[in-house]
Amino acid sequence: MALDIDGGPGREAGPLHRADKDSRAVRDAKRSFRAMGLSASAVGLAVVGGILAIISALGSKISFLGWFALALPVGIVALSYARRAEERVVDVDGAVSDERRSRRARRVAVLAITLGSIYLLVLAVWSSWDGFVDVANTFFSWDNISKSFPAVFEGFKLNIAIFIVAEISVLIWALIIVVMRQLPGRAALPLRWIAVIYVDVFRGLPAIVTIYLVIFGLPLADLPLISDLEDVNFSVLGIQIDQLFILGVLALTLVYGAYVAEVYRSGIESVHWSQSAAARGLGLSQGKTLRFVVVPQAVRRVIPPLMNDFIGLQKDTALLNVAGVLEGFNLARIYAGNNFNLSSVTGLGICFLVITIPMTRFTDYLVRRDQRKTQANS
């Protein structure tokens, strides 16, 4: 039976052939739902939700609380009811009673959904309370977080240094790849192929495999530039720059360059061809058209997905611990091993959040500001 989702009040039964297929009982039920201002889908959802709520309530240790779970389905029905009532107010001008009923229903809905959600949270905590205490002791021991923090933060500074350098090199590297892929003419065919193969391979390889290959494999290959790196050792702002650091950045650049190249490409392809036509029509070469007209518009459009990849990159700096880079996660793990407590890892997690969340908000703000400036009606 097809659920009648748009059968609002004031609408008679659907087309004849459909009415014929439903049994009398179903038809009657639908009609009475509609008369109450409910759509069959909301009722269906509520029934399913109610059954789940009852099962969960019966299964839990404190079954009386379970009955409160019914608040969720009740809330859904009430919301649907409120909507219908509001629609009716719009349909029939001056139906004050409906407006009042709608407002009342909406209040009930909000209350029911809030209570239901709180209940589910309480249930989750309550039913696993013993486990919760263990988890809290292992991961949220304030004592251990604060004791391990100086060392972890020292390591986290290395994460920051790695991702700042890697982000810059990813931006440039990915741009080179995507421009290579867009080069015109038969002469550039091998370059286009290289770009395609690079993206396919490094997007497909697990990041951890690339990290192994670059950090342990490249020095073995005895390549001229790479083996020169062995002697690199200096420090900038207290950060030790050595071969390991450079290879780590290189590995992350190779991994994230492949993603970001695809993000760029989607942006470039989303700029309408008429923009290129206008630029070429003014005599700009293909390269200048890309540089001054297409890429600036493309980058603006892909900032949100670019942010995604950047946050991914920041977090994946922690993967470098497998190659022995003494970054935050590695130090947190060492503390955890010595003290049989994982709170140091939580401390590191907080460090990451403190960076990524404000950064996301700040980018959102920049994008919005740019849109306000360049777009009408915004």
Partner: protein
């Protein structure tokens, strides 16, 4: 010698032949209007003249220079051939003045201040100096189209191609753009204009070409085309346009 010479140009998109052997020429300081129904090939012809579309046969010559599909030669050629599109195609991420300055600065290699001076002068000419720092999206269609025209003029082209530049405008905005086109014609700008504005073609053009399914069916001075067309299809087209109130 004519400034623009088109000889036997054929353009196909896959199996569809859009231009089927076009011959015409434009002299210096001449305004040539291309008229004809939508899809008759007016826009494609303009895009072939400045090499935005490759042709399958025939030649286009501009000021003695052959248009060939070679990037470097085309870039050079397009300094002399300005084109303005129906949809303005201003660059939305740049202010009005940056739009106008871009090509003189990056193609003609004028210094920033020279390019700015040139752009300011042109903006003043169309009375839009106060909009220099605005972004295109905040302007009316008519204003955007006028900026697009001076963006092309900033390159000081020898010939200007206008591709139905009033067709996307609200009726009350058409006039400001038409007036600008008339002014340019009076100043002696060589122009090839694809248009549905028959009054402009009648009053301003030196020559009118009627395109029908890839051919120039008829060409001549506007007096002749509009009063005594020699071809049945021209008569029909003009009658239909007249009925829709475009004259």
């Amino acid at each position: 010698m004519a400034l623009v010479e088109v000889r036997g140009v054929v353009k196909k998109f896959g199996d569809t032949t859009v231009l089927d052997g076009i011959d015409f020429e434009v002299d210096k300081h001449q305004v040539v209007c291309l008229i004809g129904a939508s899809g008759s090939g007016k826009s494609t012809l303009l895009r072939c003249i400045n090499g935005l579309e490759a042709t399958q046969a025939g030649t286009v010559t501009i000021d003695g220079r052959l248009v060939v599909q070679d990037d470097i030669k085309l870039n050079r050629l397009r300094r002399d051939v300005g084109i303005v599109f129906q949809a303005y195609n201003l660059f939305p991420h740049m202010t009005v003045i940056d739009n106008v300055m871009l090509a003189p600065n990056k193609v003609l290699h004028l210094s920033k201040s020279e390019a700015r001076e040139r752009a300011e002068e042109l903006l003043a000419r169309i009375g839009m100096s106060d909009k220099a720092k605005e972004y295109p999206d905040r302007l009316s269609g008519g204003q955007q189209q006028r900026v697009a025209i001076i963006r092309a003029l900033a390159m000081q082209p020898k010939v200007l191609l206008l591709d139905e530049i009033t067709s996307a405008l609200d009726p009350e905005l058409v006039n400001e753009v038409l007036l600008m086109m008339i002014e340019l014609a009076q100043q002696g700008m060589t122009m090839v204009v694809a248009t549905h504005e028959m009054s402009f073609a009648r009053d301003v053009a030196h020559k009118v070409c009627f395109l029908h399914s890839g051919h120039i069916l008829e060409e001549g001075p506007p007096q002749k085309i509009f009063t005594a067309p020699s071809h049945q299809r021209t008569t029909e087209f003009l009658r239909r346009t007249l009925e829709s109130g475009k004259l």
